[in-house]
């Protein structure tokens, strides 16, 4: 890395003027910008989008309905192959119990995610979502694109028809998981059996067209180059121009422990902060950038508020995928609020639509 203070003046001018940054600008920021520059610029853009000095969060929980999956992503230590010991599908009563627990804590959102389990077809999800909606006033944020694409395939449906039926059954929005790196050369190395970048983007395009909004993630720090990170950001930005359904961008670092990529080093706190800041600078058409304190810990998660982050995500009562890989940062609600206030912002509870809740 060479930090060449001063030579980024043309990029700074664009940022100040609110002009869109190019692919080349993004790469230069990764290679040349120092942390304080990135922080100052990301602060500027963040303040433009969120002038009220507010940091939001949502009270939600993850429900990992199954861990059975045949895709064998090398970065995952959560899955069990179909037929293998330790595989599970949560009974419906267990799902209800988890939702009730969340509602009792004042929560409003469930993130339903699992694996690509050949035993679960469209009727399973329709019945489950309908049963949930009939019983609980809860927002269903669920099923990553990979799960929906696979579900459509084994149910003999088009992606569009599958999404229409899921929406009718109660699916409110889609998590941006499984985006990993939207660059096939990277996907071929870390998740060769997973859908292509184009398939992921197509599914999201269709969902947005049908009025199902989503978030979008980026898993950096495995085998990709800086150029590939920027390529991911540009692809996300292009789709957002076209379909407009991304509510938030969530970068998180690959967690090498327990995976099949043990030679990859854990990305540093600095790598996280610069990636967050450059995402804030590149993604001029996505309103919210969410912190991943689950992977970064509360200290770097809080410092990220000076690097473009305006949302602390879900308080996460339960998470099994990342925790299976060794990151165990759990933050109680009052601790999230303390971190936000300590950083000089006002904490505000939001819903999945990023609307501030009263109180």
């Amino acid at each position: 890395m060479r930090f060449t203070d001063g030579s980024l003046a043309t990029i700074e001018e664009k940022i100040v003027a609110g002009e869109r940054l190019s692919f080349a600008d993004g790469v230069r920021l990764f290679r040349e910008a120092n942390p304080l520059q990135l922080s100052a610029w990301a602060n500027l853009v963040r303040r433009r989008l969120h002038p009220e000095d507010r940091v939001t969060y949502v009270v939600g929980r993850n429900i990992n309905y199954t861990n059975v999956c045949w895709v064998q992503c090398k970065f995952c230590s959560f899955y069990r192959l179909p037929g293998a010991d330790g595989g599970y599908v949560l009974p419906r009563e267990e799902i209800f119990r988890k939702i009730q627990e969340l509602l009792d804590l004042g929560g409003i959102e469930i993130l339903i995610q699992g694996g690509l389990n050949p035993a679960l077809r469209i009727d399973y999800f329709e019945e489950t979502f309908r049963a949930i909606k009939a019983r609980f006033p809860v927002h269903i944020h669920g099923l990553s694109p990979a799960e929906i694409i696979y579900l459509a395939k084994i149910s003999n449906l088009s992606d569009r028809d599958c999404l229409v039926r899921l929406k009718a059954a109660g699916l409110d929005s889609i998590p941006g998981a499984g985006a990993e790196m939207l660059v096939d050369e990277v996907r071929d190395q870390i998740a060769p059996l997973k859908d292509s970048a184009a398939a992921w983007l197509n599914l999201m395009r269709t969902a947005h067209q049908l009025g199902i909004p989503s978030t979008v993630t980026m898993m950096y720090g495995s085998v990709e180059t800086v150029e590939q990170r920027v390529e991911h950001l540009v692809k996300v930005r292009d789709l957002q121009d076209e379909a407009g359904g991304f509510r938030a961008f969530i970068p998180w670092s690959f967690q090498p422990q327990g995976t099949h990529l043990p030679s990859v080093k854990q990305a540093s706190g600095f790598d996280y902060l610069r990636t967050v800041a450059i995402s804030r600078l590149m993604l001029d058409n996505i309103r919210n950038i969410q912190a991943s304190w689950l992977t970064q810990g509360p200290k770097i998660g809080q410092i990220a508020l000076q690097y473009g982050v305006n949302d602390m995500g879900s308080t996460v009562i339960e998470e099994n995928v990342v925790t299976a890989q060794g990151s165990v940062f759990m933050l109680p609600l009052h601790e999230i609020e303390r971190l936000i206030k300590d950083a000089g912002f006002h904490p505000a509870r939001r819903n999945t639509r990023y609307e501030i809740l009263p109180g």
Binding site: M1, R2, F3, D5, G6, E12, I15, V16, N34, P35, L36, Q37, S39, A40, W41, N43, L44, S268, G269, F270, D271, L273, Q296, G297, P298, K299, I300, G301, Q302, I303, Q306, G326, S327, V328, F329, E335, R338, L339, D342, A343, G344, F345
Partner: protein, 377 residues
């Protein structure tokens, strides 16, 4: 950088910036202003200005080893989780004999350790002779390493058991191997905090008197601030200004080390762990107010390696060392609780964030070593 100038103005720090550019000293009000603004980036960028003026991109580190020779202590500080009371019968108290301390050091015989950091409790049973023997035994085991040992509190105790004035015994300690002293035990120079948290410990004036004597004897030391407990912002500013004054007088301080309070297992467990913001802010403000200190340290054990790495752009030009065998507090907010960073990991932390690693000894002499030797693998 235009954006940064705007940000400084927004944070109300343009006056501080102007002073820094003019080479003027910051005052109490400036210190309060720096504490009050939530704009960490603005404070950090000012601190970085001073840091780069002094050290450029250089980031000092040391290959070091910690020896805590006893945990028995009669001071009962409320913020401490390390001590065992002198007469307690729970079997947790220990004293390393000089031979045992030397044996511990000998375990690292193959490693190019430059600094041996020795601090411990105030154990009233240890005689003056023990301290001299300890220094001699350790020095004899590793003559190539420098001993940085004894906080001002321990030195006051050593003079007490020696029943002689400190200026008289310092040359003897020096001759036995003492090269420098750490800065611990300063805590916060506030009578209120002293009364509430560490009443039995050497008082603030006493700390200054000892430090003055140590510097007069030609032994350089560090200075610290223990933050994140019950202290107020103005107490911290006063603390820093006191230390700056003493440095004007003696010039004996090498490095300032903000120490993040770790509440676990103390009498203050109800307090939360220090935040990442607080960790960076304390380093930055220390760098800005202590204009006469050569170095400011990011002690990664207390603030996590990730925050320490960021701190290299928020005023810190020293990241301590590989720290084998540290026992007094544990890093919080990390998954691994590992107490050791390998040499390679430390170099990676520094270079990844665009800083230049410089190996030093306990006295900040640069260790010259060809890069090829340093970076193997």
């Amino acid at each position: 950088m235009r954006t940064m100038l705007d940000q400084l103005r927004r944070a109300g720090l343009d006056g501080v910036h102007a002073k820094l550019l003019a080479g003027q000293r910051l005052d109490f009000d400036d210190g309060m202003r720096l504490y009050r603004t939530p704009d960490l980036t603005a404070v950090g960028s000012l601190a970085n200005l001073v840091r780069e003026r002094r050290s450029g991109a250089r980031t000092y580190f040391v290959r070091n080893l910690h020896v805590n020779y006893t945990n028995i202590c009669n001071k009962f500080c409320k913020f401490c989780s390390f001590y065992a009371a002198p007469n307690s019968t729970d079997g947790k108290g220990y004293v390393l004999t000089p031979e045992e301390a030397a044996a511990r050091v000998a375990q690292y015989a193959g490693e190019p350790i430059r600094e041996i950091h020795m601090v411990a409790g105030i154990n009233p049973k240890l005689p003056y002779r023990y301290y001299l023997d300890l220094l001699r035994a350790v020095k004899a085991t590793r003559p190539d390493a420098q001993i940085k040992a004894f906080t001002m509190i321990e030195l006051a105790q050593i003079a007490r058991v020696a029943k002689r004035p400190l200026p008289e015994i310092l040359p003897e300690l020096k001759a036995a191997g003492l090269a420098a002293c750490p800065g611990g035990g300063a805590e916060v120079f506030s009578d209120r905090v002293h009364e509430e948290l560490f009443r039995a410990k050497l008082d603030n004036q006493g700390w200054f008197d000892v430090a003055r004597a140590v510097h007069a004897a030609g032994i350089p030391t560090n200075a610290t601030l223990l933050y994140g407990h019950i202290e107020t912002q103005d107490e911290k500013v006063r603390h820093l200004l006191h230390i700056r004054e003493l440095q004007d007088e003696t010039g004996g301080f090498m490095c300032f080390v903000p120490l993040a309070f770790d509440p676990s297992n103390t009498e203050l467990t109800h307090l939360p762990v220090t935040t990442g913001y607080a960790n960076l802010r304390e380093i930055a403000i220390a760098r800005l107010l202590l204009d006469n200190f050569p170095h400011v340290k990011a002690f990664w054990i207390m603030i996590t390696p990730a925050v320490a790495q960021m701190a290299l752009w928020y005023g810190a030009d020293d990241i301590d060392g590989t720290v084998s065998h540290y026992e007094i507090t544990h890093a919080l907010g990390t998954t691994s609780h590992r107490q050791v960073l390998s040499h390679e990991q430390l170099l990676d932390l520094i270079t990844e964030i665009g800083r230049e690693p410089v190996e030093r000894d306990a006295l900040y002499n640069v260790i010259e070593e060809p890069l090829g030797v340093r970076r193997k693998g």
